[in-house]
């Protein structure tokens, strides 16, 4: 009986300990990042592997290094790539269906010319599934048009205006 009473008193004390812990956190500042107004630091985002993109060419940034060898298309477990060969080695069309992509990196690692890389787009949101079929050549042109030292130009679909330029952190150092 006495033992039970003593146990209950100890139990009540443990409840007080719990309340003091939550009470302390109640008064401490919040931990979360409030998304549209704040974003995750670039440093954290830089290692994130988002949807793939074509790397910029060595001489002309708008020129892809892809030679349409179809290695990536064969390697892809999700069958989400389609590369159409043009008149020359360079591809005429480079479509990438992100809705099927599992971000495994098979394409990036098989590419013999290093024409593919992971982007760091975290804020990729679309309203329809069709918008997830990305035209990587057009994307490359768009990125090449932005000079590295210029101010970030936010793209309408990819990120809200306050997001810092995710391109700038994706460049190989």
């Amino acid at each position: 009986m006495l033992q039970a009473i003593w146990d209950n008193i100890k139990g009540l004390y443990s409840l007080l300990v719990g309340m003091s812990i939550t009470g302390r956190y109640l008064l401490s500042p919040v931990e979360t990042i409030h998304y549209p107004r704040q974003v995750v630091a670039d440093e954290i985002m830089a290692s994130f592997r988002g949807p793939i993109q074509l790397t910029k060419g060595k001489k002309d940034p708008a020129q892809t290094r892809c030679i349409s060898c179809q290695m990536c298309v064969k390697a892809c477990p999700g069958h989400c790539l389609s590369v159409t060969k043009g008149d020359t080695k360079a591809p005429a069309q480079w479509l990438y269906d992100f809705s099927y992509c599992c971000l495994c990196g098979a394409c990036v690692e098989t590419c013999p010319t290093g024409a593919l890389e992971f982007s760091h787009k975290v804020y990729l949101v679309t309203l329809t599934r069709e918008e997830l079929i990305l035209d990587l050549l057009a994307d490359l042109q768009k990125r090449a048009a932005i000079l590295p030292e210029s101010q970030p130009v936010p793209t309408a679909n990819l990120a809200p205006p306050t997001v810092p330029d995710v391109e700038s952190i994706g460049e190989p150092k």
Partner: protein, 324 residues
């Protein structure tokens, strides 16, 4: 009491004000609950609607009002729709006896606590009806739990209040308030700490709040007795739950914390401040502790609170007798 026209008008006005109070209380409590939960969990809580999310509760209530009343098949129609109404209406009467200020009692009755306890017992009926009529096994289990829990926790609650009643020699809430002083050390909590503790525990049990939220324990019973209610049906349960919380907090404030009396200036603001402090405590423990098991819940009641309440009542009786 002769029911003259003046009293009739007074009651009507009071009931209207009380409905406004109930709805306003639900709005404030939803906001407080979510903000406190947010800050305890280190996130901002409601943030988008209105400044600091203050209009979030209004938004939610609009949503509940506009929602379709979905009724599952095979329910007991009359009881199913009666249950939320039975939950809501008794609560209106309960506030009539609360002395909000020195001159501000909706219905001055000389045994107000009897009125409150009598009608508070009706709340469990609605849970039972809702659980039975929903034709859902989770609801049924929730209802069974609700009944045995509420019936059990009423007893230590009454015992704790009786100790104060014995001490002050009156069942009139106004007189109990008047016997306490302005300053915290003149309140009944100093004389009756054990009764206050028992009341505090059984108040959580009586209002089915975590950690004693067994009737609606969502990890076991999804949502307990109101699983099958949507829209306003759910909103009425919600409203009456918060109104019940407010009521037991008012009673706690009146019996133990000096009611409308407080330092510097007496008035309803002190009553509200104290009641919301008690409610803040309830919100705080909800977001801190795990839920107790059902047999433990009843064990706490029958094996600890009830004997403690009896001992407390007995001691109070002896001391009152000697002192007189």
């Amino acid at each position: 009491m002769d029911l003259s026209l003046a009293i009739f008008v007074q009651i009507i006005a009071a009931v209207l004000l009380i409905i406004a109070l109930m709805v306003g209380n639900a709005v404030v409590m939803v906001y407080m609950e979510r903000k406190v939960a947010g800050f305890i969990q280190r996130r901002p809580g409601p943030y988008e609607v209105g400044p600091w999310g203050t209009l979030q509760a209004v938004c939610d209530s609009m949503k509940l009002l506009a929602k379709q009343l979905y009724r599952p098949g095979n329910v007991d129609l009359i009881l199913y729709y009666l249950a939320p109404i039975t939950a809501f209406f008794p609560v209106l009467l309960l506030f009539l006896a609360i002395p909000f200020g020195p001159w501000l009692t909706p219905l001055p009755v000389n045994d107000g606590i009897v009125l409150i306890l009598a009608f508070a017992g009706l709340g469990v009926l609605s849970n039972l009806l809702a659980g039975w009529a929903s034709n859902n096994k989770y609801s049924l289990l929730g209802a069974a739990r609700a009944v045995s829990q509420t019936v059990a926790y009423e007893i230590p609650m009454i015992l704790a209040l009786l100790a104060v009643v014995l001490q002050s020699g009156s069942m009139d809430l106004k007189r109990i308030t008047d016997q306490q002083g302005q300053w915290p050390w003149e309140w009944n909590i100093v004389l009756q700490p054990l009764a206050f503790f028992i009341y505090l525990v059984s108040l959580v049990g009586e209002t089915n709040r975590a950690p004693f939220d067994l009737p609606e324990a969502e990890s076991e019973l999804t949502a307990g007795f109101h699983t099958e209610y949507s829209g306003m049906g759910f909103a009425l349960f919600f409203l009456s739950e918060y109104a019940n919380m407010l009521l037991v907090s008012f009673v706690a404030a009146v019996f133990f914390l000096g009611g409308y009396k407080g330092p510097f200036a007496d008035g309803f603001w002190w009553l509200f401040l104290k009641a919301y402090a008690v409610m803040f405590f309830m919100v705080w423990i909800r977001w801190t502790f795990p839920r107790v098991r059902f047999d433990q819940l009843l064990n706490i009641n029958w094996k600890w609170l009830l004997p403690l309440g009896l001992i407390n009542l007995w001691l109070t009786a002896i001391i009152v007798k000697i002192a007189l």
